[in-house]
């Protein structure tokens, strides 16, 4: 038996029928075609499937789709709706992404990290990404990618404040 859920995914309100055993990752990938979210293990080991549920990093491979009823889900595709997110730019420009398979999960975890710590120390970045495995980079370029994004967001914030000041 399927149940109806109401969920906001990447800003779109949806009403969808999901089976009780259906995992969020399968719902996103197979049902909605949002294949940016990746499956890299048999459940809960690698972090590649990380999405944001009500802003919190969540493993979509361990979350039943029915459990996100009434919540807001953001996937990697949802970050670039107004052009690429600074994190996406950072991973591109600083080569935080080589094969790229861990990248969507890594970026979603980093997004939650930056929401909490807009100007993170390297230690905070390490702690924030400790659940996400990468086999290519050795992680240093990932730290730099996140730092790039933090700096860019800070600049934006400063510019925003300046504009606001000028408007006053």
């Amino acid at each position: 038996m399927k149940t109806l859920i109401r969920v906001t995914i990447n800003g779109i309100d949806r009403e969808e029928a999901v089976a009780g055993h259906e995992l969020l990752i399968d719902f996103l990938r197979d049902h909605l075609g949002l294949t940016g979210t990746k499956m890299g293990c048999d459940g809960g080991d690698c972090g590649a499937c990380t999405v944001l549920v009500d802003g919190l990093p969540t493993l979509s491979c361990l979350t039943p789709a029915a459990a996100v009823h009434g919540q807001t889900v953001t996937t990697i595709e949802g970050l670039s709706q107004d052009g690429p997110d600074p994190l996406q730019e950072g991973f591109h420009l600083k080569l935080g992404s080589q094969c790229g398979f861990c990248t969507p999960g890594m970026i979603m975890a980093a997004k939650a990290l930056l929401n909490e710590h807009p100007d993170p120390t390297p230690e905070q970045i390490r702690a924030g990404l400790a659940n996400n495995l990468c086999r290519c980079t050795g992680y240093n370029s990932i730290i730099e990618s996140v730092q790039y994004a933090a700096a860019k967001l800070k600049g934006r914030g400063a510019a925003g404040r300046k504009r606001a000041d000028a408007a006053d």
Binding site: K38, D45, S80, H92, S97, C99, S141
Partner: protein, 801 residues
């Protein structure tokens, strides 16, 4: 002073083309950091990997695997599965009786077992069903009757006389024995003042690429054709093996390699699941998707073999190495795979980094009832390099000499042909050593850090492609084509498999540099057998040198086409022109210009679409000697070099080793893209750390104990050290713009540098990997009890705990 202006008021610049011809101009599109051309696709989640190809009609393929390490298959009954609603096809060993295997000398596998299974996890049957649940149920309904046979998970047991033969054609379960001697090793040892003879061990390790191996195959029944998307480093080999095992013509198959989520060697052979996917699709007359679970990736992996190395090094008082004798046993697993090459690499690359006149190598590749081992980053060389560079420090200690000094006294004199016929031209190893010493301040630290802290040094090297491909032919090693058409884009076609290392970006950069047009004018189409030229694939670090050179060839032809068309348009000779931005201009009369778009139109007039081609073949002289068996392995047009200093903190109470800092210098000839060179080098060093500190695959009753990423435990971001990465450019004459290997050579040096650092920190020499807390703790305890080595007293606060 005002700058000269041209007719249109633009600043007059010195002719760039002339500058380049004179060697004064800098490079425009190479030699500086270039983000990957598919980087944004990956960061936005738009890029597609094999499992991301979604077809509404796709069936789910699942594989039944052997629960036995070694058994005869008495019968397989699939009737129960076939009778289930929703099951569209079932295949077994009966569906393909053609053997495959990456080496022509070792085609010993069937897509699914026939007659016998040889390891737990071997493919026995497979089903395609409407959904995963039905497919799983169908697997449960397949009845297989086995008759158990003696099994060996240990190569030494498999080699015992009278052991059950795993393959009929391999008596004694020896896949290959190699015995070579160059020079006179006994005389070398006789001339030595110091001899070190030690045994080293390294366990099997897994590539653990992040993407779950996946394939999607579409069989078109009316056309009798197969399209397959799969996660491979070698689309061409997959193409060949699919055709062979499905008994169809290669023209009936199209192999497409989309984005690949890491390879590290795991995908340098055709894998059974790819063939099974094709067989299922044909039998189901439709589309089948096979995505392995992580457990299956571990069960059927082709990792780095467990390796036992007995190494004897002799040196004279002056610090010259006089002789080397190595005996190596590799646990090959149940099938040949790359094994013959792996065991040959282990011996061949004892050479080509230091100058040793006398080298003997005795290698055994042994078949066992465990997953077949294969190629993994630093193929065959890593575990032996661990032994060698560890032993070098032991020799140095006996000589009362600094280990780095010992290495410096045994450098090659290049250009050189080694005693085993390897050609070494560019040799940046001395510079790597010096840079690492300088940046790490090694000499100030070694032997002088407080107890528990240490620094270690080691070097390594690797080939830039196998000069003789495993499938011998007279075709060029690499071909690249380029198309100029009315879209005013230059489309580059390459079969090179980009697996995240950035090969497509490299090809674009090389083309942009040769032609002089910006990256935005280029589009790279890669790895689609219906469209792109054949390429052997991404292994042995061949792509930059081979495909880069082929790209230069195609780009030079394209550049000539464009310059000739522009020259016609401007009524001058081609060599009067330069390309500035997207405009051709006459150097002597810079107001005479023609835009690129107009040049394209001129070029296509009376001609139509223009296609150019470039090829690369390795020079004969680089292909190794012909006077001994196995001479083709190890031979390469160029070798990369790496030096590393690793700084550690060892907690003597727990044995835990923290890697605090790594300084690495890698000689890549010329960094076409310093961004990706750094990425490759750091990734290699890190993977060396992962193997050195913590990774191992142990078997219990033939099953791996850690068949998931949680238990296998490769390092997270929390335990990954800072790195100082130095790029050394020795300018390889045979490489594209001087470039050579960057993606593997730095892995091996980390392991011995770590062991050497631990010795510096706590005075114990550990010869078994990984250097895990248990092992380090035990070694410290043994040393304290045996008083074998001077060990610092336990600090008071430790004793108090």
């Amino acid at each position: 002073m005002t700058q000269a202006k041209d007719m249109k008021g633009r600043p007059r610049v010195a002719p760039e083309a002339l500058h380049q011809a004179l060697g004064q101009g800098g490079h425009r599109f190479i030699g500086k950091p270039q983000p990957l051309i598919d980087g944004m696709d990956k960061a936005t989640g738009q890029g597609r990997y094999s499992a991301d190809f979604h077809f509404p009609d796709a069936l789910v393929g699942r594989i039944l695997r052997s629960p036995h390490s070694h058994a005869r298959i008495k019968s397989i009954d699939v009737s129960g599965a076939l009778a289930m609603p929703g099951v569209r096809a079932v295949v077994t060993g009966d569906d393909s009786d053609v053997t495959f295997g990456v080496l022509p000398v070792a085609k010993d596998e069937y897509p699914m077992a026939r007659g016998k299974v040889r390891y737990k996890g071997e493919e026995v049957a497979a089903v395609a069903a409407v959904d995963a649940w039905t497919a799983e149920q169908a697997l449960d309904a397949i009845r297989v009757e086995y008759e158990s046979l003696p099994a060996y998970t240990d190569p030494f047991a498999a080699m015992v006389e009278g052991a059950e033969q795993i393959h009929e054609h391999r008596p004694g379960n020896i896949e290959r024995e190699v015995d070579t001697e160059f020079g006179d090793v006994e005389a070398g040892f006789a001339a030595s003042d110091v001899i070190v003879e030690e045994s080293f061990q390294a366990p099997e390790v897994n590539h653990a690429h992040m993407e779950l191996s996946a394939a999607v195959a579409r069989w078109d029944e009316s056309a009798q054709r197969l399209d397959i998307w799969c996660s491979t480093q070698v689309p061409y080999y997959v193409h060949k093996e699919l055709a062979a095992t499905m008994k169809v013509d290669m023209s009936q198959i199209r192999v497409i390699k989309p984005l690949v989520g890491g390879g590290f060697g795991a995908k340098t052979e055709t894998q059974s699941y790819e063939l099974i996917c094709g067989l299922l699709a044909r039998k189901a007359k439709g589309t089948v998707k096979v995505v392995l679970t992580r457990e299956e990736v571990f069960l059927a992996h082709r990792g780095r073999p467990a390796t036992w190395t007995k190494l004897k090094l002799g040196a004279s008082k002056d610090g010259r190495l006089q002789a080397c004798a190595a005996e190596v046993v590799q646990q090959g697993g149940a099938y040949g795979g790359y094994g013959v090459v792996t065991i040959l690499y282990a011996g061949a690359l004892l050479n080509a980094i230091y100058d040793i006149a006398n080298v003997r190598y005795h290698g055994y590749r042994v078949l066992t009832n465990t997953p077949a081992n294969g190629a993994m980053r630093g193929h065959g060389t890593v575990d032996v390099r661990f032994a060698f560079e560890s032993a070098l420090d032991m020799v140095a200690k006996k000589l009362g000499m600094d280990g780095v000094e010992l290495r410096k006294r045994n450098l090659l004199h290049t250009p050189a042909m080694t005693i085993n016929d390897l050609m070494v031209n560019s040799y940046g190893y001395p510079e790597c050593i010096d840079k690492v010493l300088e940046v790490s301040r090694f000499k100030e630290k070694v032997g002088r850090l407080p107890y528990g802290k240490g620094i270690g040094f080691a070097g390594s090297h690797y080939c830039s492609g196998a000069a003789k491909p495993v499938n011998r032919s007279n075709m060029p090693h690499a071909t690249v084509t380029m198309k100029l058409d009315t879209d005013s884009a230059i489309t580059i076609f390459t079969g090179a498999a980009d697996i995240g290392q950035g090969s497509s970006t490299m090809v674009m950069q090389v083309a942009a540099e040769v032609i002089g047009l910006p990256p935005s004018r280029f589009r790279v189409i890669a790895s689609d057998s219906a469209v792109t030229p054949k390429d052997n694939g991404s292994y042995s670090s061949r792509v930059t040198l081979y495909v880069g050179n082929a790209a230069i060839g195609a780009a030079e032809h394209m550049r000539d086409v464009l310059y000739q068309a522009a020259a016609r348009g401007l009524h001058v000779f081609p060599n009067d022109l330069e390309l500035v931005g997207e405009e051709f201009r006459v150097m002597a009369e810079p107001h005479k210009t023609i835009a690129f778009n107009d040049v394209v139109e001129l070029a296509l007039e009376y001609e139509g679409t223009i296609v150019t081609k470039g090829t690369y073949a390795t020079p004969k002289i680089s292909q190794g000697g012909s006077n001994y068996r196995g001479a083709g392995v190890g031979a390469s047009p160029a070798f990369s070099y790496s030096a590393q200093a690793v700084e550690v903190e060892v907690d003597p109470l727990t044995g835990k080793v923290t890697v605090e800092r790594v300084t690495v210098a890698h000689d890549c000839g010329f960094a076409l893209n310093p961004l990706s060179v750094r990425g490759q080098v750091e990734g290699s060093v890190w993977m060396g750390m992962a193997q050195g500190r913590q990774e191992e695959t142990n078997y219990e009753n033939g099953l791996p104990l850690a068949p998931n990423l949680l238990d296998y435990r490769f390092p997270t971001i929390m335990e990954s050290p800072q790195m100082e990465t130095i790029i050394v450019e020795s300018n390889e004459a045979g490489g594209p713009f001087g470039a050579k290997e960057a993606g593997e050579g730095s892995l091996a040096a980390f392991l011995p540098a770590l062991a050497n650092a631990i010795e510096d920190a706590v005075g114990v020499r550990i010869k078994e990997l990984p250097l895990s807390p248990e092992r380090v703790y035990a070694a410290i305890q043994a040393a304290r009890k045996g008083q074998a080595k001077p060990v610092a007293p336990i600090p008071m606060q430790e004793a108090a705990r």
